[in-house]
């Protein structure tokens, strides 16, 4: 009985680890989309967040002195700055210059993925390593450190086997939910996303809200990239390893019907679907079909939501549109 329980909790723990980058990404994107900005640059921003953390960690590790606290803080700050700058590019173009959001987002993704792979590749070259990846074991160790409680039991496996960023992601999702739902700032933000003209007339600074939501959202999403490289892959960067997780995070936004609290469960479900084939006796050929499931589920959710037309489940009404005061 205990063994079964242990392996189940192990599976859940793996799903959580797999789902956490998605949770960061979707929480950030939900916050962004609530301001009416459809940021398709999130995959790129996550890459930038990851590589900025790696660059910071790389140069810190080179000094030879490793203090665990600094090993956490330096990559964290670098990652936040990197994703902030990337989000600022997006904000400046779409909010200030009112450019098309889809095009800007896609350009940012092209840029971000290229940025990540370029600097990743350059760092790998700098180390003269034989393998096409870069390892930062000393930086990753504090990121991977877990609370040593109930070790070896299913309970410990389920709740205490993660690095601190997993708890950060859950906390952020809850905070964003509360802010959106219960505070004045959240109400204003939702007003900006639903109808910027109305919000503007009510005296809300639309530009400020759009900037803040998109930049904070981008920084949260960037942490997903940092979590992926530091914790999930043990401080190893290899080009393109992050894959299509950024798009999966955008899918998760829809799945969670724009609620970060549902996003928590959703991300672990997606994580579970992602690794489910390891536990099932499906043939090699059908593996991709299993990996397709999150996307199919997302499409089904998207359709159901639009069929039922419950107002609170629909995307923000002005999603994807730029706001110009004189154009009504």
């Amino acid at each position: 009985m205990n063994a079964v329980l242990y392996s189940i909790s192990q599976f859940i723990a793996l799903s959580v680890v797999q789902g956490t980058p998605l949770l960061f990404g979707s929480t950030g994107e939900i916050l962004t989309e609530k301001s009416g900005n459809l940021n398709l640059g999130i995959p790129g921003i996550m890459y930038i967040g990851a590589i900025s953390g790696i660059v910071g960690g790389f140069f810190y590790q080179r000094t030879g002195y490793i203090i665990p606290m600094l090993a956490i803080i330096i990559p964290l700050v670098c990652s936040l700055i990197g994703s902030l700058l990337a989000s600022l590019i997006y904000c400046f173009l779409t909010v200030t210059l009112r450019a098309n959001q889809n095009v800007t987002g896609l350009a940012l993704t092209t840029f971000g993925v290229g940025f990540g792979n370029f600097f990743g590749g350059s760092l790998i070259k700098l180390t003269n390593s034989d393998t096409p990846n870069l390892t930062l074991p000393y930086i990753a160790r504090p990121y991977k450190a877990h609370i040593p409680l109930f070790e070896g039991t299913w309970f410990g496996e389920l709740f205490f086997s993660y690095g601190f960023l997993v708890y950060v992601s859950i906390a952020l999702a809850i905070i964003v939910t509360i802010v959106l739902k219960k505070t004045r700032v959240g109400l204003h933000l939702r007003a900006v996303g639903e109808s910027p003209a109305t919000a503007d007339a009510a005296g809300i600074n639309v530009t400020k809200y759009k900037y803040l939501a998109t930049c904070i959202g981008g920084m949260i999403a960037g942490l997903g990239g940092l979590y992926y490289v530091m914790d999930y892959s043990n401080g190893i960067w290899s080009n393109n390893a992050f894959g299509d997780r950024g798009w999966l995070a955008i899918a998760l936004v829809i799945f969670a019907v724009w609620r970060p609290s549902i996003g928590i469960a959703g991300s672990y479900l997606f994580g579970g679907l992602y690794i489910l084939y390891n536990y099932m006796t499906v043939s090699m050929q059908l593996q991709p079909i299993m990996q397709m499931l999150p996307y199919v589920v997302t499409i089904i959710v998207l359709i159901t939501v639009s069929l039922r037309k419950k107002r609170e489940n629909l995307p923000p009404a002005s999603l994807g549109l730029s706001y110009f005061r004189e154009e009504r």
Partner: protein, 373 residues
């Protein structure tokens, strides 16, 4: 009382914003071209500063290398021409939907599924029937698959307003995983690509002894046809009206639902054909990278050309030149290939940004004394 009036008459110095933005009327063509050219020049300057920092060599040398990478010899020219035309046909394919303000981000998937259907037909029927029938079946399969991938989101958009950007985006990954699945079934060695040895039948005939040029000719024809379709046909007119305002379209008696579905069917079909041209006409292989992100790049190409199929020749030339050129720079200066993505990104940011100065006008605050009076 009088005091109160005086107070109203002499308010504190009113705050005026630094500048006010107003919408411009359409600028003359020359100015529009000039603004865009200025943006590209500025972007190239920034790019050369960055390349200078990264490589430490003369920027002029780098642009020379880029040029030779794209147009250095006849093989490279043909290759560039081919890449240009593939990007062009995908951009042209998504344009009808974009003009309708249907944000189809699923071209990647539509192209892939077209390519996949082509490959399946090549694999299963290849060698059993004459090649020309095979090619016809390939074309039919690719078109049908593209139509399905395009119409599905359009149907839900038309009837229930399902968000098409997100729907089509998700369809990409369904297509990618289907391709992965096919690769695992068709190729037992576990490589990520099914190549020309397996897909040995149904190749398009060669033109001037290269695989690529027939594709280029077909694509040129498609581009002109779509241009005519959008500009001179009744359908094209309906698409523009729906794009401008769905309500207007309803008033004048256009069946909006029908237009949306029909246009996306066309868009999807053309994307499917693009997949056919890539797989059957040039690479004779299929992998998850067959579309290679072109579905996304094409969105930018189409948008840069302001949805004019003929102008897309230039915008896709720009992108392809950057990609091929920066690829060459990467090889010559022993840089990472992704360098081209950074350059492309920067140039796109500038071009996207400069549209603001075409559409809007800044009125700066006047620093004269009259404000104080």
């Amino acid at each position: 009382m009088t005091e109160a009036v005086q107070k109203i008459k002499k308010p504190k110095k009113a705050w005026t914003p630094l500048f006010v933005i107003t919408k411009r009327d359409t600028l003359p063509l020359v100015k529009r071209v000039l603004i865009r050219a200025a943006a590209i020049v500025a972007a190239l300057l920034l790019c050369s500063v960055i390349t200078l920092v990264v490589t430490g060599s003369n920027p002029l040398q780098i642009y020379k290398t880029m040029f030779s990478g794209a147009f250095g010899n006849s093989i490279r020219i043909v290759r560039t021409l081919y890449e240009l035309s593939v990007l062009l046909v995908i951009a042209v394919a998504i344009t009808p939907a974009f003009k309708m303000k249907f944000w189809n981000t699923g071209a990647e998937g539509q192209v892939l599924i077209g390519g996949l259907s082509t490959a399946i037909v090549m694999l299963t029927l290849g060698g059993r029937i004459p090649d020309w029938t095979l090619i016809i079946i390939m074309a039919a399969a690719a078109t049908a698959a593209g139509v399905i991938w395009g119409v599905l989101p359009a149907f839900f958009k038309a009837y229930w307003k399902t968000n098409e950007t997100l729907f089509t985006l998700m369809m990409n990954y369904v297509a990618i995983q289907l391709v992965e699945c096919f690769l695992k079934i068709a190729d037992k060695t576990g490589s990520n690509v099914v190549g020309p040895t397996t897909l040995s039948h149904g190749w398009f005939p060669q033109l001037f002894k290269t695989d690529y040029l027939l594709d280029v000719v077909i694509i040129a024809v498609i581009t002109v046809l779509v241009y005519i379709y959008l500009r001179y046909s009744k359908h094209g007119y309906e698409i523009s009206v729906v794009g401008e305002s769905e309500n207007t379209a309803k008033y004048v008696g256009i069946n909006v639902k029908k237009v949306i579905i029909r246009t996306m069917a066309l868009s999807g079909a053309l994307c499917g054909i693009a997949g056919l041209l890539i797989v059957g006409g040039a690479s004779h292989s299929i992998s998850a990278e067959t579309a290679g992100g072109r579905g996304f790049t094409a969105i930018m190409v189409s948008w840069l050309a302001k949805f004019n199929p003929l102008m897309m020749v230039f915008s896709s030339l720009l992108i392809v030149f950057l990609e091929r050129g920066a690829g060459e720079v990467a090889t010559v200066f022993a840089l990472n290939k992704s360098f081209s993505d950074i350059l492309t990104g920067i140039i796109l940011f500038f071009i996207i940004g400069c549209e603001f100065f075409i559409n809007y006008k800044l009125h700066f605050r006047k620093h004269s004394k009259e404000a104080a009076v």
